[in-house]
Symmetry: D2
Subunit: 283 residues, 4 copies
């Protein structure tokens, strides 16, 4: 049977990314407390395509995914990236997964338990020379961890200028980091919630609702405050090498969103810090 995809292409245009999008697949994610959590991911997979090939072999992405066990810890994630390079004979492979992820919450006063859903996001890339028999010695792997978490924000300006009350609303915080060492979804959620006017909960009894209402009123936050608060926590964490923070508030006095965004590469700062730390250590 003819292999149209492998035909020679003379247009001299290499393709940055070619692959499949919006594949749904059940995955098992490792949790911070040494357990795991079954969820459903929406997955994008792609590779680069040199200019002399007409097409990639799309079915191989699905073969790799369906052959892989469902456990997607960091090693499993890199294993898929490695196989994409090998099976599709590409220099670069790119993998992205988004999935609902649940965190058990306890209401702040009554302690009532409920499952709080956030979105977890894994983005990874492998790049190196074209795969050869001798293995992938020179392949580099990048990994970006992301979460999208709903919180409560209460407007500092509205509180300041009003005799009573203050407008507040649900906001969605989306944070991505690149890091060294280990980092958990749960760690990022904690950082985000501690920067908000108040965390939110699926289940609140009346004493809890009183608590959250008053907590939010006592901690007013603009979207600007949200992104700065989260940024400060990430900058103080030596593991974090790069981050982006996106805060989107579903304003309750408007029918549009308020929005703020910061992105920083901390690599240079971390290296300086390590060198100076190292020289201090030597003294």
């Amino acid at each position: 049977m003819k292999d149209v995809q492998s035909q020679r292409d003379d247009r001299r245009i290499a393709i940055d990314k070619v692959g499949v999008k919006n594949v749904r697949f059940p995955v098992l994610i490792k949790t911070r407390d040494n357990g795991d959590q079954q969820t459903i991911a929406q997955i994008d997979m792609s590779v680069n395509l040199p200019h002399h090939f007409r097409g990639t072999h799309m079915s191989r992405f699905l073969e790799i995914l369906n052959a892989h066990g469902r456990t997607i810890d960091r090693e499993g994630f890199f294993q898929i990236l490695r196989e994409m390079r090998d099976r599709l004979r590409a220099e670069k492979s790119h993998l992205e997964m988004r999935f609902p992820y649940f965190i058990e919450k306890r209401a702040p006063v009554t302690g009532s338990k409920s499952l709080f859903d956030i979105e977890g996001i894994f983005i990874g890339e492998a790049h190196g020379p074209l795969p050869e028999a001798e293995g992938d010695r020179d392949v580099e792997f990048d990994f970006t961890l992301g979460v999208r978490v709903a919180v409560k924000t209460l407007c500092p300006c509205s509180r300041e200028i009003s005799e009573f009350g203050a407008h507040n609303q649900r906001g969605y915080m989306t944070v991505f980091i690149r890091f060294q060492g280990r980092y958990w979804i749960e760690d990022l959620v904690e950082i985000i919630e501690s920067a908000a006017s108040a965390p939110i909960y699926p289940l609140l009894k009346r004493p809890d609702e009183k608590f959250v209402t008053e907590q939010a009123y006592s901690n007013p936050r603009f979207v600007e405050d949200m992104v700065r608060g989260i940024a400060l926590s990430l900058e103080a964490d030596e593991r974090v090498m790069w981050y982006s923070v996106d805060a989107e508030n579903m304003e309750s006095i408007h029918n549009h969103e308020a929005w703020a965004y910061i992105e920083r590469d901390l690599t240079a700062r971390r290296e300086t810090h390590r060198r100076s730390g190292a020289s201090r250590a030597q003294r």
Copy 2:
């Protein structure tokens, strides 16, 4: 060229609705102040299909739409329904349009002007005997008017139990009515906003923000209060023969929505009322 759609079908199954969905088309909507407003509608069109035909002629829906002038007042809407019956030789035709619609707002203190977007919805049906040469004497037309409007709601329970503050949020109210006489999108928006803790605005300067914050705190509303308040206004309006009211709050202390819904047919009540009014008038 063979007409596959007109082939005889022996499966003896009539089809309730067949047509096209998600057609985008520019339309001109009449406004209450005797003007008109250009917008973009998303349109669904369908007819019933007797059991002995294999298929409908889908292209005719698009022909009718593209041939019709863009002005969609009530008469134009019925004209499209009539042509759908005629051109597709069907007993029933069904037409639905959803479109962004703008209302000029003035901020409550500074009077700053801005354009507030809601969603307008027109749903209509024509039904009668199969179209014949002699016209559509026995055709009946139904029309349902709908709007979806964002408002601010502030929780009565949270306000009552908290020492300071109260959780509030953006809520979306969706109301449909069938009516006699004339009824405007703007009328429905006013009814909805007057039932809310406060209307919302695209543009608010600081004195306006103070006003809206305090107004909402002074008018706490559950979703249950929202649907009842809107229902009371509609029941008091003699033009309204049927309504449904849907209130969905994007709770700011949860990551799910609070929801309430009422639907009532007032036809019998209106008739009783008219009869008793008539008999009073005769005395």
Copy 3:
């Protein structure tokens, strides 16, 4: 602490449905082959509210859900409906769940395995007199099973009139049934796929792609054919008491959808059939 929700309401307007929407929760669904499948549901829960109460107690919905084990077989589903009636002191309770559900497929020629995702939908209602101490003798339960499945459709008209080729596309079929006895998601998927031009698969190698392409060309189907084909299968199945079939084609020659819809209540027909079957059995 004051119970604002239980305050007396004098507006004399009962509310049809009040509750929570878009709650995400992990659930365990029973599969036809006696296994189970972990997935994430999006859940709506509501009850009716008599006119003399101001509000419902929203947190109880979340309490019931979080207290319930994750296994949602039919009995578990009814158990949640029963508790909603009891805990919220309502005559009617309503529960709806939508979740991704995976079916293992084998490619038609090479047998390559892959996981195919559809959407499963459970809708249920319990209604009866206000719950009292003596239990729920007179409570009735309704259950509706639904699925949304992607298939391939190839246009009979395009094939008939063209010298070569025929336009084809992905279509989404949404089917709901009420039934007696047992019925599985997998049963509905089979009925839907057998009515299509061809089933679709996440993973197809080249010989499979050839097979599916030719299979679709040999089985042209309008949306009208799709809904009739599925309807015929459901009418022939004595378990089915009511159904609706919705076919939506993402037309590849247009940027709108082609659509067809049928809904039938078979209760009367089934009873007649049973009586005549019973009388035959007596002879």
Copy 4:
């Protein structure tokens, strides 16, 4: 009234972008044939915020938008960017608009007219020193034009290996360019459609449907072919300085999308070309 936003901030974190998202607003877009087209845009507006200010003044974005006339030609677009810098005292301002845009199509055989909707996208940025009284001499403006257009693609592999037929589907092409001189939405749509297996149309009579079906069968295209074909046209156009091309196919044999992406900066090449052209001209 206290100006909380202007308070001093000591966290030493500048914010890259702060503003409003998802504002809907009616706009008037210039068309290639010297007319204009009224449509509804979804708009994002933001500026950077120096580290020493606590917050931006969100209401000014809406003031600028509502004060601007609805005509958004290129000059009007830059005018908004300029006012955002000035009114919010920022070095950078960013503006993004997405809107439905209609192109009149004629069916290829019968010439039947219909309105075809695509998405138009304008993205712009102004950056320079902090605005001072003396005007914006050193401000630079960037502008990116984008469109998202539905087309028909037919799979070359499926056609080659199958005895009859070939799978085809609707695909969405999203192209962005930065350019010198003038460039119209309509120009981009033509480039995209000429790279497809066939353009698509809202209205096709039977002879047109035959034409499009056969045209697509005669012009098979992978997503890889689509992005390369569009890229070749853009590279041949001296006005284009940078482009990205994204092709997403709603595969009719799968329930996921096939995807390809190319992005190129041609600035260096254009300059070389101009210099060599200039030297040739001098000779």
